[in-house]
Assembly symmetry: C2
Homo-oligomer: 307 residues x 2
């Protein structure tokens, strides 16, 4: 089944303790689409500028991603520069040039309208809501957001959360959104805002999924998946979007949506996030095989499972 992903396409300039990379393809829609492409058919809606060449689009096309929804606008593509110092969980932004992304108004090609799954990447909550409302019936809508929108567009975000089935955010975002420092209590407060499930990403400690009571016909018990302890994180950029891509991609590849599928999806999210950080930019996500993904899934299982 197919997923429609809406988000940013960007050129990133990244410095980490392992080195640096300049003007490499990035953005939430890019990481998400590449990660999800190993599981299901992906369609992308985003905006790029005149500096976005065929070679860039081919990165997505080679993975079978449908790029007809990428709008080519006059001007430059969104650019972001940042560095990770000792704490690889946190980026220090050097510059943000929104460029064509500033006026992004997502347009959904008619051929995309039958997508059964929708992922709303980290863009203005009103744009997220508009996309969701244009899509009519979908089986599941996933969404992301960040501190910037939680603080600056609270009301709009509140409306959007009613349209999202599974929200994927990190610990700090969940606590900020809920105004609550205890994680399980924060999770219940966020779920009360709309989503049926909340995935909280803990960075190097993995992720936990919390459920609304009765959602998906399953219990409310949370489930936790690990992250792989990785000796060398080359570049953490895109780990969260790659996680979302693995998570949503796996769900879209399954006939049924039940607790076991959501649990495995959380594992596949971690798997794709762990690959993403092994190289700069999207390099590692461009050339994986399904066998490598399954092998790492087994490593995750062995890392956490008793006999």
């Amino acid at each position: 089944m197919s997923i429609l992903a809406v988000g940013s396409v960007a050129f990133d300039s990244i410095a980490t303790p392992a080195g640096r990379a300049d003007n490499v393809l990035g953005g939430s829609a890019t990481y998400f689409s590449l990660a999800a492409s190993y599981f299901t058919k992906v369609r992308v809606v985003a905006v790029v500028g005149e500096d976005f060449a065929a070679e860039h689009e081919n990165v997505l096309k080679k993975r079978g991603v449908d790029t007809r929804g990428i709008e080519h606008a006059k001007g430059k593509t969104f650019r972001w520069g940042g560095q990770y110092l000792e704490n690889l969980n946190e980026a220090k932004t050097d510059f943000t040039e929104l460029n064509v992304f500033e006026k992004f108004q997502p347009r959904i090609p008619d051929e995309y309208k039958d997508s059964q799954f929708l992922f709303l990447g980290n863009i203005h909550p009103s744009l997220q809501a508009a996309v969701r409302l244009k899509m009519g019936s979908v089986r599941l809508t996933g969404g992301d957001t960040m501190n910037f929108w939680i603080q600056g567009t609270r009301k709009e975000l509140g409306e959007t959360l009613k349209l999202i089935n599974v929200l994927l955010i990190n610990d700090g975002e969940a606590k900020m959104l809920a105004g609550e420092t205890n994680l399980p209590r924060a999770a219940q407060k966020v779920i009360a805002m709309g989503p049926n499930a909340l995935v909280i990403k803990h960075g190097e400690y993995g992720a936990t999924i919390f459920f609304r009571e009765g959602a998906f016909g399953i219990g409310t018990h949370p489930f936790r998946a690990p992250a792989l302890p990785i000796d060398e994180v080359k570049d953490p950029t895109g780990a969260g979007d790659s996680f979302a891509g693995g998570f949503m991609g796996y769900i879209a590849s399954q006939e049924e949506l039940n607790r076991e599928v959501l649990k495995r999806a959380l594992f596949y999210g971690g798997v794709m996030g762990s690959f993403a950080v092994e190289r700069f930019g999207t390099e590692r996500l461009q050339s994986l095989t399904r066998e490598e993904i399954e092998a790492r899934f087994q490593v995750f299982r062995e890392l956490t499972h008793l006999e």
Copy 2:
């Protein structure tokens, strides 16, 4: 089989967002012994003052803990006061009165000399080493330490680490000890200092055990156990020592020491830590049943295991 635990017995005065408790029985040896007592026979070596009454000793005795190694000295028992603010992972110390603990010289009763397992609680590394050397052959020695010793008694700690088979510390301590911010690399550096295995406790995110290559006849793959997402942490004091008690207690209850036992031990550590924080002081650890412990073990399993 029996464990000898050496550490502190204290009276704690604790304030948390959930309330406060004054002069309640605490200390590393107390939490460890109570937690381990549900799995195996525990013997304790510690020092207390004249304010340590029969009612306090009975808390341990009721759980079958052998208290003959508790030395009664002239003066007052170690007292600690602290508070936990929003971040329950970190205590702000209000006061520390070492009292009789300042001159603690652990004496091991002859009846304790046949203990097969040894746990060296968080005391001066030279005292830890002295205890280990007095004990002759044991099957496994576990140990704890903290930032204070890592910074202040580095050389002595280095010697002690050569005598410890499994070191249990938290993320910050592991990184400080190794001088390395990447967790798996920090783990390998600490293991190179002596221990065959290193348990790194991640607070609310669980714990990971790393192995020296070839140690215990098993592979080097790490294993990760979760912590329970708890709605209301009443009092985090003693969570780490309770973890160590569950971990070591379970190991001591098993005939063999293999990878599966160590994995399960990590789960039981998390289970006992999760109970400890539900009430102030040692209250919850005083009145558990083995059935409650097994039921929570199953909750931990369901929290992490795929079908």
